[in-house]
């Protein structure tokens, strides 16, 4: 293995390295371009296969006259921005107040399962938990409430989209927490805290005043990704969002799936509107950051030391524990369903149990699991190699950031999949590539690479350059510096990024179906197809199976590198960073 690695090293020599950003963009440019063209042209009426040959604004007129469009947009914006703000507030509040406490260590260890659970499972589990006929009310009915039949109140699908917001917070907070934890090391949070505490600052105030400004730039992109995701989520919204009208993303999804193929023009215009909405929300967020920066500066330097932070610790600790509890209860509910034969209201537990739900799925899980694993490993590895190549190239050539073209990497996250992938599909068919492994992995890469890049980029860029400089001064070649200094020091963010990429690949449904031409069966294609039947028992089985692979990946990353990393990365004599 070691010799193999050594032989690989020349591959990353300078001459090659220079072409990695170009290669990355080339791999991206064609499908992203095709995807965007496939969305933009029909939005302006051009789609010859469906008889649209005249460029015009007709789809837009139809879009804007669609009843309830304004409410849909507003609903998307509110639930998306609110979910992101709450997730971020909760994450920062928790890390600030509870770092170095037992509850922090405990919850960090439990992060992996939460990250691994598919969105759909959280949506189904949570709606079963909080619905009027759900588990919580089953536990207290009818003996405490007197309700022989469930009360007629809108606890899910509420008109304000609060149930959707809540579910997004439950699913997205762990991701932001992971990204924050990964950023702590590079910011040398321990040193900063030690200095601030020695100057008499309270623990929470010290964290917010000295660590947060250093790590926020590193978690900014993940926050934008959460924002973009929350604004365009479809699968969770089907279970939790109101339907009259639904959020914009569901409308777009419906138009693209409308049997009346002419609705695809409206759908394309809606997809462009969705993109604009995401961009607008990100701009809004950037503006708010700028405002907070201006307002916070005076407070930062005013010298207020803050208190002991005990109250903050209690509140943030309980809030995060509560969030974990809700997620765990949602999953436990689904797990019980997977073992249930019958579980009617108002029984607190299933009345008849069975293993049938599992036995029936056993056949075929092997094939689907194998395909899922292979694709995810290949996509995550390719994404990691390209990302590291781009970042290393940019450092060696002294670029502050890679060319502006890199924003294209994020395009697949910002545009609704269903519209975007149609263009990709046309491209793959043109190239006679569809239905092959290459096409499958490539299409996954479109969604995996952005997440890997944003998981890794800022940690990589913020690694203290003095380490590399010192190694170069001692005579090491740039390649040796990369393999022996940078990579070991960055081992944790690198593996986090790989695990995130792996999980993203596992969860892909439409790319697998579109690029794979139906030739590839994964756990997710099975799960999503079966979700149409809304059988909680089957969903329980597949939610578990779908979560299992990413769970193993995250668990491995969270367990493995902590030791190695601390031993090799902490400069002698310096505090060993935040103990994780």
């Amino acid at each position: 293995m070691a010799t193999a690695l050594r032989q690989l090293k020349p591959v990353l020599a300078g001459a090659w390295l220079r072409w990695v950003p170009a290669l990355t963009l080339a791999l991206f440019l064609a499908p992203v371009g095709a995807g965007l063209i496939g969305t933009w042209l029909p939005a302006f009426g051009y789609f010859p296969t469906l008889g649209g040959t005249a460029i015009g604004l007709a789809p837009w007129r139809e879009l804007f006259s669609y009843p309830g469009l304004g409410t849909s947009v507003w609903l998307s914006l509110c639930s998306g921005v609110l979910a992101t703000a709450i997730s971020m507030g909760l994450t920062i509040g928790f890390v600030a107040a509870c770092h170095n406490t037992p509850v922090f260590v405990r919850l960090r260890r439990l992060l992996a399962p939460l990250l691994a659970v598919p969105h759909l499972a959280i949506a189904v589990g949570l709606s079963f938990l909080i619905a009027p006929s759900g588990w919580i009310l089953r536990l207290i009915s009818p003996w405490a409430t007197g309700w022989q039949v469930p009360p007629d109140v809108a606890l899910v699908q509420d008109p304000y989209g609060l149930a959707l917001t809540f579910a997004l917070v439950v699913k997205e907070t762990p991701f932001l927490l992971l990204m924050t934890i990964a950023a702590l090391d590079q910011a040398r949070a321990g040193d900063r805290l030690a200095v601030a505490r020695s100057l008499g600052y309270g623990p929470v105030t010290a964290w917010i005043k000295t660590v947060l400004p250093a790590i926020y730039p590193q978690i900014r992109l993940p926050i934008y990704a959460v924002l973009a995701y929350s604004l365009s989520v479809v699968d969770m919204a089907i279970f939790l969002a109101p339907q009259t009208p639904p959020p914009l993303a569901i409308l777009v999804f419906r138009w693209f799936n409308d049997p009346d193929l002419a609705m695809r023009f409206v759908g394309a215009a809606g997809a462009v509107l969705q993109l604009a909405l995401v961009m607008a929300a990100i701009c809004l967020w950037r503006l708010a950051e700028w405002g907070a920066d201006r307002l916070g500066r005076r407070w930062l330097t005013a010298g207020g030391r803050g208190g002991s932070g005990r109250l903050a610790r209690e509140v943030a600790g309980s809030a995060m524990t509560g969030l974990y509890g809700i997620a765990a209860a949602s999953l436990l509910g689904l797990a019980l369903w997977s073992l249930a034969r019958r579980w009617p209201y108002p029984e607190a537990l299933p009345v008849t149990w069975t293993l049938d739900n599992w036995v029936r799925q056993a056949y075929g899980l092997w094939w689907a699991g194998g395909t899922t694993l292979l694709t995810a490993v290949a996509a995550a590895a390719a994404a990691l190699a390209l990302t590291l190549g781009c970042l290393e190239n940019e450092q060696r050539r002294g670029l502050t950031t890679s060319g502006r073209g890199l924003w294209l990497l994020y395009a697949p996250l910002l545009v609704p999949q269903v519209g975007f992938l149609f263009g990709v599909q046309v491209l793959l068919v043109r190239l006679d590539f569809d239905g092959t492994w290459i096409a499958l992995i490539w299409s996954h890469l479109l969604f995996v690479l952005p997440y890997v890049f944003l998981s890794l980029a800022d940690s990589y860029r913020r690694l203290d350059p003095r380490y590399a400089r010192a190694a170069l001064c001692l005579g090491a070649s740039p390649n040796r510096v990369f393999w022996r200094v940078k990579l070991p020091m960055l081992m944790r963010p690198v593996l986090f990024a790989a695990a995130v990429g792996f999980a993203v690949s596992v969860a892909q449904y439409l790319p697998t179906l579109f690029a794979g031409a139906g030739r590839f069966v994964t756990l997710t294609t099975e799960a999503v197809a079966l979700a149409g039947g809304a059988d909680r028992r089957v969903l329980g089985v597949y939610a578990f199976m779908q979560a299992l692979l990413p769970l193993l990946a995250f668990a491995a990353v969270l367990a493995l590198p902590a030791r190695r990393h601390r031993a090799s990365a902490a400069p002698p004599g310096a505090p060993a960073g935040v103990p994780l």
Binding site: F47, P48, T49, L50, P67, G68, L69, T71, A131, S133, V149, P150, D152, A154, Q157, D158, P159, I238, F239, P242, Q243, T244, P245, P246, R254, F256, N257, D258, P259, D260, L261, R342, P344, Y345, T352, R360, F422, Q425, V426, L427, V429, R430, G435, Y509, L510, L513, F514, A517, G518, V521, T525, E526, A529, L530, A531, G532, G533, A534, D535, R536
Partner: protein
């Protein structure tokens, strides 16, 4: 064009020839021979484990008898397969396409037919088509008023029926106006899925058929003139305005899908749910997804029924294999198994009179299934309106109630 009368005469001669004519038999033998060793990618909704298991069984049987391999591409939505075919046409792939057979009907069929995305006609040339009850089940040749013209092969029958929990409900409505009275007496205990879910849209069409002044007009495309359309649909909107305050959540929220609505029935949140398969209730009880007390009722003047089909895209790679599979799906063996509650419970498209006594016996209804209505008790079948009505009604529903 001078050839046209001659061609018509020739075609007529073929059509009226006896089914065992040597030409027809030879070409079918040809098809069967070409089909051997082909791999058929059958794109079908994969939301029901039992249906998936049935499709797997059919694939196994076709492999045994004809050497055709069947791969079920499980879809969350038929539109995903339509999108594939559309993408292939946009990319100029006119043969060697990736979809060989689609489970389809209604609007999706109309759209594919209109855009030239289908292969055929092939269905009426299949040997087993002669067993289909085209007289008693006219929807096997007219799909939502759109003539099938041999572009899809009938597979099964669907018909609106209502599932209720007899433990909570004693009197069931027998007509759309009685539904309103029932809802007033039992506020919050009924709902329908939000259109454009097809169960929700079909409920709207059911109301429209019963209340519109001239039901025959629904068989023609919806009128372009707003005033004529308004006159035809006014009773529907007045009815819904009266009904909605008494629905689940006061008509402010609706389940997103038909399956979610049946889940609500099982959770006890509503007392009546709409189903499209007359055996749904019995089959789901067998599967413990509904209480033992679930029963079924229909409306006295009939409910909407339709047929679901399989179609072959214009550029399918394994057309012969797909035809062999479509033919097998119409065989008495496959149809009888499909109708058993254990397999699926989907009603047959075949005419019992055209079967042998032995074949007919396989279709005998199960003895002990209280939630299964006999064909006579299911009442008259109403024809689907023209698809254009559905589109217009869905839009109007969005405008009035969906925003």
């Amino acid at each position: 064009m001078r050839l046209f009368p001659f061609a018509t005469a020739l075609l007529f001669a073929f059509l009226t020839a006896s089914p065992t004519s040597s030409a027809g038999a030879a070409s079918w033998d040809d098809t069967v021979a070409k089909a051997r060793d082909q791999e058929v990618f059958w794109n079908a909704w994969g939301g029901d484990e039992r249906i998936n298991a049935y499709i797997a069984w059919a694939g196994m049987r076709v492999w045994e008898d004809y050497g055709v391999t069947v791969r079920h591409v499980k879809l969350a939505d038929t539109a995903d397969a339509v999108a594939r075919v559309l993408a292939e046409k946009a990319a100029g792939r006119t043969d060697g396409g990736s979809v060989d057979l689609i489970w389809i009907n209604g609007e999706n069929f109309a759209a594919m037919k209109e855009n030239g995305l289908l292969f055929g006609p092939f269905a009426e040339q299949l040997p087993n088509f002669k067993l289909v009850d085209v007289a008693g089940k006219p929807s096997t040749r007219v799909d939502f008023t759109v003539p099938v013209e041999g572009l899809e092969a009938p597979w099964g029958m669907a018909k609106i029926n209502f599932i209720y929990d007899s433990a909570r409900v004693t009197e069931t409505p027998a007509s759309i106006p009685e539904f309103l009275d029932w809802a007033k007496a039992n506020p919050g205990r009924f709902t329908y899925p939000a259109p454009p879910d097809f169960i929700g849209s079909t409920f709207l069409k059911q109301v429209l058929i019963e209340l519109t002044p001239d039901p025959a007009a629904l068989q023609k495309p919806a009128p372009k003139a707003a005033a004529t359309f308004a006159a035809a649909t006014e009773p529907l909107w007045r009815y819904l305005e009266a009904l909605h305050p008494y629905l689940w959540r006061g008509g402010k929220a609706y389940p997103a899908t038909g399956t979610a609505q049946i889940q609500l029935l099982d959770d006890g949140e509503v007392d009546i749910a709409i189903s499209f398969y007359p055996s749904d209730a019995a089959s789901m009880m067998l599967n413990d997804r509904l209480p033992e007390s679930a029963r079924v009722f229909v409306l006295k003047d009939g409910t909407i029924g339709n047929t679901h089909f399989v179609a072959i895209p214009f550029n399918a790679r394994a057309k012969e294999g797909a035809m062999v599979l479509a033919n097998f799906l119409m065989s008495p063996e496959a149809q009888a198994r499909k109708q058993t509650l254990e397999a699926w419970g989907d009603q047959t498209v075949l005419d019992m009179e055209k079967l042998t006594t032995d074949e007919r016996r396989q279709f005998d209804p199960p003895k002990d299934a209280p939630a299964l209505l006999s064909p006579a008790a299911l009442g008259p079948t109403l024809l689907e309106p023209h698809p254009s009505w559905m589109t217009r009604i869905e839009t109007e529903w969005q405008r009035r109630f969906g925003s």
